[in-house]
């Protein structure tokens, strides 16, 4: 009944002269495509290259047509992929400014050139931006005409039935006595089958007609969603870009280091660092505040691997009510449209420094920043407010589980089993009074002198929890009183995120629908022809698909099986449930806008 249309002469060619996805023999359409093919300019299939005679407007139109052509879009896509790579090879300012500075130190000449060319900030560089902006202009130029065309196609009837079915890739047919089955019976059954059971969601759009010869025909088309999905995908990408851009302008983000028992308020001055987009307004911060009640960490005893981190906080809302909440890794706290992330944690030894006069010169927790998996932490204690004598600076390490040997001290476990401070002592001028901002985690030793032992080696203080030691040179005493934890919190507010998600899911849905919805046209013709046995109803069915469609013959066969008077051929297929062998035309290459 139907042979797999896979003629050998087609096998070798990727560009078969097949049947276009259009009305066959429509002269208007044919000439239009030919025109487009020629006007796409150099490199096209048109004969010898000729320089076009172009004025200013013509030049612009030429440039626009080039930009919106598929070939240029393809080039831009490839460029985009290549241009993204340096951002993974070179350190990036946005991700690791310290690594960029180090790179510049190590390679001064190369570094300065790379910096000038934007290689340390690839994704904000002129060339990267140029590529994606051109790509998106190209995309807009492509989809606008396609949206219009698709809008018309959605309201158009399926194409009329071609005169001959011989060239179609999927065919079938049979004859039956006309007094048993009339052409009207055939077309009625075909319509019912093609429309499907769901009245509100027809499988095919179906148009019955009668030809001038008297033959009854049905033309049907399905798969309009294929192009809809395609357009939704591309529009969603555009929306994604816009919502990212909007997010950059509207977002704000603050970091705060909070020790147990203390808190912070959602205001710009309360954050250690604060960044915001150009359109952010300071009064849009909701004035809630938060206290860190406790922080718990769990480490595995065998290999010190982190198991769990939990910060328990109390949030005081703007209306005065308060609530308890938990922040974990992977589980940020949502508050006033913002999210608060647990980004880091460590120990903040609570120390009391008494000066030479015995007065309390400093008291409070000092965050020591962890440097490795066993929380070897580095920190500085600055004591500017002494009542007598020189200012004091203490710099060194905090070790949660200290193992002290003659060679030195090190931490062997991240939990505070045997906590100790290992500090060097400086005295002199801390340099805090000359108005230059200082890093709180670094000691400016220019105006200071390090305390040394009698043999000239530096003094190293080792202080356990609850211990008090004398500072050298009669500077006073240091007491290591308590050991609260601190957490590094990161608060981020980006009002565009929900749109980013919507468009991302739109793109996913669009591309899935577009790639997996078959676009098919099916035609049925039923006519009465006189035969030796009397009048017989001759039924022909043809199918056409856009692109590769391994299920097209199956569609035609299923339709035939639902038509009255059709008998399944005597030699049954060995496995009728399988997709029938049929090779369709590859999707016809075009250089038209997407």
């Amino acid at each position: 009944m139907s042979t797999p249309p896979n003629p050998p002469e087609r096998d070798r060619s990727y560009h078969p002269e097949g049947i276009d996805d259009a009305f066959s023999g429509d002269p208007a359409r044919t000439s239009a495509t030919a025109e487009t093919a020629e006007s796409t300019g150099p490199g096209g299939t048109a004969g010898a290259p000729q320089l076009p005679q172009l004025g200013g407007a013509g030049m612009l139109r030429f440039a626009w047509r080039q930009l919106t052509s598929m070939r240029v879009a393809l080039m831009l896509l490839m460029l985009l992929a290549v241009a993204a790579v340096p951002g993974s090879v070179f350190p990036q300012r946005g991700q690791s400014p310290a690594a960029v500075a180090q790179y510049m130190l190590d390679n001064p000449t190369l570094g300065s050139w790379l910096d000038r060319l934007g290689f340390f900030d690839v994704y904000a560089s002129v060339w990267f931006s140029a590529i994606y902006i051109l790509l998106f202009i190209s995309l807009v130029g492509c989809i606008l005409p396609r949206v219009r065309a698709h809008f018309h196609a959605l309201r158009a009837a399926p194409p009329r039935t071609p005169r001959r079915f011989g060239r179609f890739p999927a065919r079938g047919g049979y004859t039956v006595a006309a007094d048993e089955v009339s052409p009207d019976d055939v077309t009625a059954a075909a319509e019912a089958h093609l429309r499907g059971r769901l009245r509100w969601l027809p499988r095919f759009r179906v148009v019955p007609a009668t030809e001038s010869s008297g033959a009854r025909v049905v033309s049907a088309e399905r798969g309009y969603l294929r192009e809809t999905g395609n357009l939704v995908f591309h529009i969603s990408l555009l929306g994604l870009l816009i919502s990212f851009g909007a997010g950059q302008l509207l977002e704000y983000r603050g970091q705060a280091i909070v020790t147990e028992g203390r808190g912070f308020a959602n205001s710009v001055v309360d954050y250690d660092t604060f960044e915001s987009g150009a359109l952010f307004q300071e009064d849009s911060l909701e004035p809630f505040s938060m206290t860190l009640d406790s922080f718990e960490s769990v480490f595995r005893i065998t290999d010190a691997k982190a198991q769990d981190f939990t910060a328990n906080v109390t949030v005081r809302e703007t209306d005065g009510t308060s609530r308890s909440a938990e922040i974990k890794v992977n589980h940020p706290l949502s508050q006033s449209g913002a999210k608060i992330y647990l980004q880091g944690n460590g120990f903040a030894p609570d120390v009391i420094v008494r000066d030479a006069a015995g007065e309390i010169a400093f008291a409070g927790p000092v965050p020591f920043l962890p440097e490795d998996d066993v929380y070897t932490s580095q920190g500085v204690i600055k004591v500017p407010d002494v009542s007598t004598g020189e200012q004091i600076g203490l710099v060194g390490f905090f070790l949660p589980t200290a193992e002290i040997t003659p060679e030195g001290a090190r931490s062997i476990f991240p939990d505070p089993i045997n906590p100790a401070l290992v500090l060097s002592v400086y005295h002199g001028d801390l340099g805090l009074d000359d108005g230059v901002p200082q890093n709180v985690y670094q000691l400016e030793t220019d105006g200071m002198t390090q305390s040394v032992e009698e043999d000239g080696s530096p003094v190293t203080l080792v202080v356990g929890r609850g211990e008090t030691v004398d500072l050298p040179d009669g500077l006073g005493t240091l007491e290591f009183a308590e050991l609260p934890r601190f957490v590094a919190l990161d608060l981020r507010h980006d009002p565009s995120l929900v749109w980013t998600l919507v468009f991302a899911l739109g793109a996913l849905a669009g591309v899935s629908v577009s790639l997996f919805t078959p676009r098919r046209r099916v035609w049925v013709r039923a006519s009465v022809q006189d035969d030796t046995d009397g009048p017989r109803t001759v039924v022909e069915v043809a199918g056409l698909a856009r692109g590769d469609d391994l299920g097209l013959q199956g569609e035609v066969d299923a339709l035939l099986a639902h038509l009255p008077g059709y008998e399944v051929p005597g030699t049954p297929d060995p496995s009728p449930l399988e997709p029938r062998p049929s090779m369709q035309e590859p999707e016809r290459p075009t250089d038209e806008p997407r």
């Binding site: 797999p4 087609r10 096998d11 070798r12 060619s13 990727y14 560009h15 490199g43 096209g44 598929m70 070939r71 879009a73 393809l74 896509l77 985009l80 992929a81 993204a84 951002g87 993974s88 990036q92 946005g94 690839v122 994704y123 990212f244 691997k305 198991q307 769990d308 981190f309 974990k328 890794v329 992977n330 589980h331 940020p332 999210k339 992330y341 980004q343 990161d490 981020r492 995120l497 998600l501 991302a504 793109a507 591309v511 899935s512 790639l515 997996f516 590769d548 297929d573 060995p574 496995s575 399988e578 029938r580 062998p581 090779m583 369709q584 590859p586 999707e587 290459p589 075009t590 250089d591």
Partner: protein
Amino acid sequence: MNLGEISDTLVWGAATAYTIAMIAFATDLSRATDALGQRKAQERTAPKAATVSVSTPSSGAAAPGSAVGVIEGRRASKALGIAMATMWAGFLIHLVAVVLRGLAAGRVPWANMYEFWLTGTLVAAGLFLVLQLRRDVRFLGVIVSFIVVTFLMIAITALHVEADGVQPALRSYWLVIHVGVAVGATGVFTVAFAMSVLQLLRDSRDNGSTLLHGEGTVVRGRNVAAWKVMNWRFLDTIPTPVALEALSFRINAVGFVLWTFTIIGGAIWADGAWGRPWGWDPKEVWSFVVWVVYAAYLHARTTRGWSGRRAAYFVLVGYGCVLFNFTAVNILFSGLHSYSGVDRPTI
């Protein structure tokens, strides 16, 4: 012997089975060429000669002249039977190894580089076997089993780490979704890659490549290198480039959708864990590159002058980027995705 060690032993077993399958597939292809000539002669005398499916557990549904089969029915070859049987055996052992690995670690078995490859190769082998249930793609067997064996061996020898729990940053249901889909996509891309390689080889041979006719390399009419590794005649027994291209596209389309989902899922997770959906971390950069290359492939397919051969090159480049993303990016670059469990070489 604990569960993790049993799993490791089974991985060796699976690799052995796949190797046997690979050899058997290769043997079959080398014999297929001779049989092709004989069968053509037979078909001339008896056009509807009965075609018998190979009686392996898998190939019951291999219909004569299936969609991509250019040969009217593969004969029942002993080598092919052995190949499919050992491939299935290897897959089942592999599956048990992966399940045991998950049980040993108490989580999904794809949280470090070793497990990613372990599961990725399982998906590739499984996809090949599932495709085979629907249409005859046994010609892919050599190349799929070769890739699977290679990656499995690298994984167990160089990347292996003890089965263990994960750090708090990975303790999220997104580990199941995001990484799971990424593993799936990688397996899917692998099979499509194999398809495109064969498409290019067949196309080159059809277009008279001397190298692929076993006549060495010819430059300007002169034979500059007379290497004759094999006669490549097996290429005549596989489907046409057009058929291979169509199938490769269908598989790549699935891979592309999965990859899109991987990126979106990753962005949602990143927003929950790191406070931003996208931050150009090296892994994110390369995921983006992979996505753009496959997007370019989908566009190239429908662009005049870029369909066919040139589009297939995109698949090769795209798969290269996929591999780079799961190998070099883990080892060379430091980033937030440093979960490989393999110590980075100190530079």
